[in-house]
């Protein structure tokens, strides 16, 4: 009798389990890799990202067109009133400039902005990263801010030549220093696992003047985002009976699932200088 006849045939079940063990172990190792150890992945990642942008940018034009058409219809009704509003704003800007001169305060930077189309969205369950079709060739660098007419979207976290990656404010790594418009209360909003679909407001005193419906804007104190950008609306305020801490939920103004176009804004000069000086290391924005 030949040897092969004596041995039982290898079970395909064990084969699949072995393959699964190898794949799962490899996945786990990749997961626990520190960013410094994963540098060797940057080249294949860049290639893959370019391919994704190319494909999604081409295929995604249909929904983008639908969203833009919807936005165009709603903006059309505002066209009649906007010129008046803009004139009013320009007058206020001039007045602000004169008053800052009189008080001896430094003038604020003019915005250096670029429009960009959203050409890809993260495919993970929470989807907190988007790709836009402007990169270093358009002057965009890491740290630029992304916003939309509704409010703050996020910040540019990675830049390639023709596209950039924007980390949304709903990303686990994107806290924003904020101010409540009505009462001036300052705090920080960030994504937490307990509120996967909203933002949580932190560092608020239990007796702070806050109520449901309050509008939250960026305070500009964190070192990245400029002041005054609309972030969201307070949807729930309560005090945790056990920890005596305030639990405040904020719903972002921007509907991130329907973003088609964003405005990329260069960070203010003063913030760049502050960061470069090394004297200011923001732990928030």
């Amino acid at each position: 009798m030949r040897k092969s006849d004596e041995l039982p045939a290898p079970s395909p079940r064990y084969g699949s389990l072995k393959a699964a063990a190898v794949c799962l172990a490899f996945s786990f190792l990749m997961f626990v890799l520190k960013p410094d150890d994963a540098r060797w992945l940057s080249t294949p990642r860049a290639g893959l990202e370019s391919a994704v942008v190319g494909l999604t940018g081409t295929i995604g034009w249909v929904p983008r067109l639908i969203v833009l058409a919807e936005q165009s219809r709603s903006l059309h009704s505002r066209v009649a009133t906007d010129p008046l509003l803009l004139e009013n704003l320009e007058a206020l800007r001039q007045e602000n400039r004169r008053l800052r001169n009189l008080l001896g305060l430094a003038q604020r930077d003019e915005w250096n902005a670029v429009m960009a189309e959203v050409v890809g969205k993260e495919t993970g369950r929470l989807g907190t990263i988007i790709l836009v079709n402007r990169g270093s060739s358009s002057g965009v660098t890491e740290g630029w801010i992304a916003c939309s007419p509704e409010g703050l979207v996020g910040k540019v976290s990675r830049v390639r030549e023709t596209f950039s990656q924007v980390q949304l404010i709903t990303n686990y790594n994107s806290p924003v220093s904020v101010r409540v418009e009505r009462s001036g209360v300052e705090a920080v909003v960030e994504w937490t696992p307990a509120l996967p679909t909203k933002l949580s407001m932190k560092f608020v005193q239990p007796d702070a003047d806050l109520k449901t419906g309050d509008v939250v804007v960026s305070s500009g104190l964190g070192g990245v985002y400029p002041a005054g950008l609309r972030v969201g609306r307070v949807t729930k305020v309560r005090v945790d009976q056990d920890s005596r801490e305030s639990v405040i939920e904020v719903r972002p103004f921007v509907d991130f699932s329907r973003l088609a176009v964003v405005l990329l804004v260069a960070p203010e000069k003063i913030k760049v200088e502050m960061l470069e000086s090394g004297l200011f290391a923001p732990d928030v924005d």
């Binding site: 395909p12 079940r13 084969g15 699949s16 389990l17 393959a19 699964a20 794949c23 799962l24 490899f26 996945s27 786990f28 190792l29 990749m30 997961f31 626990v32 890799l33 994963a38 992945l41 294949p44 990642r45 893959l48 990202e49 994704v52 494909l55 999604t56 940018g57 295929i59 995604g60 249909v62 929904p63 639908i66 969203v67 050409v119 890809g120 969205k121 993260e122 495919t123 993970g124 369950r125 929470l126 989807g127 907190t128 990263i129 790709l131 976290s157 990675r158 990656q165 686990y172 696992p193 307990a194 509120l195 996967p196 679909t197 699932s257 329907r258």
Partner: protein, 178 residues
Amino acid sequence: MRKEVVVEILTEAGYLLLAFVLQASVVSYFAIGEMKADLILGALVYVSISKRPMHSTIVGFLVGVLQDMGFGGWIGINAFSKCLLALLVSHASRSTFKERYWTQLVLLLSTVMLHDLVYFGFLYGGGVSQIGSALLKVSVGSAVLTALVSPAYDFIIRRVFSLKGPVSRESVTLPREQ
């Protein structure tokens, strides 16, 4: 390698790649709040129910790596969960009557829930209440949407490109009466 095998591999890669591209470009525009269909997972389920466990495991792993690498998040999280799910679905589908639409729906629903359990488990480091909250707020709705959209995707793609179905009804044979 035989020509048919190459064609089959390319067809499957195209089927999954199209799901990936649609997920990254189109699907999020049709999200309802935080709930959105997961076309990639849906397509992976259809591949897994028609292929052997080993084949499905490797495909799940590769799809997960593609997802992880494409968007700069945590590498490995999708690879781990998709690989595990593909293996489970492929094994489970061998002992179920997968030709039935309702069986496919149940498989899709349970796959999304299990996938998210693993995914959020990694993301939240095992915080039970946080995982439960995320499953309720995000996963249940996404599972329903996935179960509705994925069969449509599978049907349309197979019709348009004249592909063989994931489960061939002709191959089902009833045991001969004794």
